[in-house]
Amino acid sequence: MLTSIKTNEFAGDKGKELGMMYFRVAIILFGAQLLMGLIAAIQFLVPGFLFELFDFNVARMVHINALVVWMLYAMIGSVYFMLSDETGEQLVHAGLGKLAFWVLTAAVTVVVLVYIFIQVGAGTEASIWLINEGREYVEAPRWADIGIVVVVLIFYWNVFATFMKGQKTGIMTVMVADLLALAGLYVAGMFFTDNISMDQFWWWWVIHLWVEATWEVFVGVLAAYSLIKIIGAKREIVEMWLWIEVLMLFGSGILGMGHHYFWIGTPEYWWEIGALFSALEPVPLVAMFVHVLYDWGKEQGIAKAEGHKGAVANNGPAIAWIVTNAFGNFLGAGVWGFFHTLPQVNIYTHGTQFTAAHGHLAFFGAYATILIGMMYLGVQYAYGIERLKATFKSKMGIFLIVFGVLGMTVALTIAGYEQVLVERAELGAGWTAFFAAQELPWFVQAMVWRAIMGVVTFVGFIYLVWDLLTIGKEQKAAQAA
């Protein structure tokens, strides 16, 4: 089984090979994210679990950092993967790309080991440089921050040089522009200030503008590319949709930033700006949803009219994950986000499990799904399989993961609802109010269900990895027979 990991039949396509290397690390980090999530979920129920050995703050930090890093790995992998198809050129500096991959992987390993074994430091600049920055999602110590920027610049230069040499499709043009913004924004989170309002103000430039603007555009690009690849959608139609999505995603997402500026010390005019633009943020997600389903149905219809039998998609698991993305992005980012985006509601829901519910479904629905779809595309091409069919393991993987994440989301929503009513509205958010709400049966029950659904998700993950490791070899053998 393990030898199947290294199979590449790209006929010397260096970009695709490099992409597969990134996918492999991504899936390992995804597993680490889930394990850390399980530890954190247990700590809500059994407070003494690993107390003063591996505390919640460590488990949670690795949980969210592994999330961000596996997604960045899978994103970089996806870009390298699609590069030759879109530009018609080979990756120009394959060796440099490989070097950057190993540097990044070594750095990530060191950072994770420091997080796990050293955990916290003294209140000095040295801790910020060497251990962790203690700022949610961007905890990477400063040496690693600088290293990440260097590696990302190498990646960007490589993609940009290849793009300039080859043909400039609409898909690739959006990708190159979006990656520049994605890399540039990271720099906004790299300085220290005593003023926590200022700190949070710039922190959101990384977190919001990344996730709700540049990452969403990135997903639009991947959806466009994979629809062409999997169902043979027409490029003109896909690219027109892509520009419309970019218009709406950036049009709402950039100023949607305002919904994070309600309570961090920033002026009240952000209430109106944040409410208006973040209320518009679900609109492009509806468009993306319609786009994927419409194109799929249309191509299937055309194929049927031409007398072809069977599914139009040449990659069963990938199309399943991409359709899940269309649903998940709209539901998790759109609906669950809109639930609590207006300041009148948000003043009670902000900083409760409501946020966690939205976070779980949005990250999964909007990003994890499509990146897993890209991994299946990778497997299909690595083995040179014409039509990759979903196996029992593929179906168990997608079903259990989706069911698990939806279950966690519902459980956390109930927990958040209870917190809003008891801790926030009734008791006024103090120390005793917080713990009163944490002890109520409805909260505890919800947390039990969250942990159970976390286990379901993890079992689904095992099926997913098992499938990714075996599906290629099996179907290649079946194809040869």
Binding site: N132, E136, N195, I196, F201, M257, P267, G430, F435, E439
Partner: protein
């Protein structure tokens, strides 16, 4: 003629141009608003405090003053109110010392990874209480359970004691771990918390630690 666009709605160049214009416009608006906001959230000075100038984020020397959190009729939500002088750890801190203490506290809050259990200004993790207005929490005031358990007689001493030996003072089965916080770091952290409680957060968290009677009377019990 077959490929000629008959409608602007199916024209790729039209959508490409629109995407560029909308993105550019939104970006410029964000940058413009950011300049205004950055001015408003920059830290005030000691002179502002002495002259009663309200800043959304006051100077570090705000630790020398009593901070309250009161309903503002005009704004329709609670706002921080900076009152008379109040010793912090038994003394008045100079501009330089107060700034150094706040610096130490903010650094410590990051080095100890507070944000991955607690919530600061509503952001962070939700495993432990929101610290945005923790300084004003009635539980830490005289007669409050948290101050009582540490056996100290001021909010700052009680908080500093708790931070150094958190697992000695469990408030709940879910305890804060011992993070090796030194006496100096604990002082810094308390200064950081007091400073954070003076930030104007547009009324967040709403109805902070109040009874209905207090809410109707428009006051707080944070004293």
């Amino acid at each position: 003629m077959a490929n000629k666009n008959v409608s602007v709605w199916t024209s790729i160049p039209f959508w490409r141009r629109s995407a560029a214009w909308v993105t550019g416009f939104a970006t410029i608006l964000l940058i413009w608003l950011s300049f205004d906001t950055l001015g408003q959230i920059s830290m005030g000075t000691d002179a502002d405090l002495k002259n009663g100038v309200d800043k959304r984020v006051p100077a570090a020397t705000v630790i020398n003053y009593k901070i309250d959190y009161k309903m503002s009729k005009k704004r329709g939500h609670e706002v921080p109110v900076i009152g008379e002088k109040q010793p912090f750890f038994g003394k008045e801190w100079s501009q330089k010392d107060a700034a150094a203490l706040l610096h130490l506290g903010k650094l410590t809050s990051q080095a100890k990874n507070c944000m991955n259990c607690h919530t600061l200004l509503g952001n962070g993790a939700y495993f432990a209480p929101d610290l945005t207005k923790a300084w004003l929490d009635p539980a830490w005031q005289k007669g409050g359970p948290l101050q009582g358990m540490t056996g100290k007689s001021t909010v700052e001493e009680a908080m500093a004691e708790f931070l150094q030996h958190p697992s000695q003072y469990p408030t709940h089965a879910r305890m804060m771990p011992n993070l090796g916080i030194t006496a100096d770091e604990a002082k810094g952290l308390v200064a950081f918390l007091k400073h954070m409680s003076s930030i104007d957060t547009n009324g967040f968290p709403r109805n902070f630690s109040k009874t209905v009677d207090q809410f109707k009377a428009g006051g707080t019990n944070a004293h």
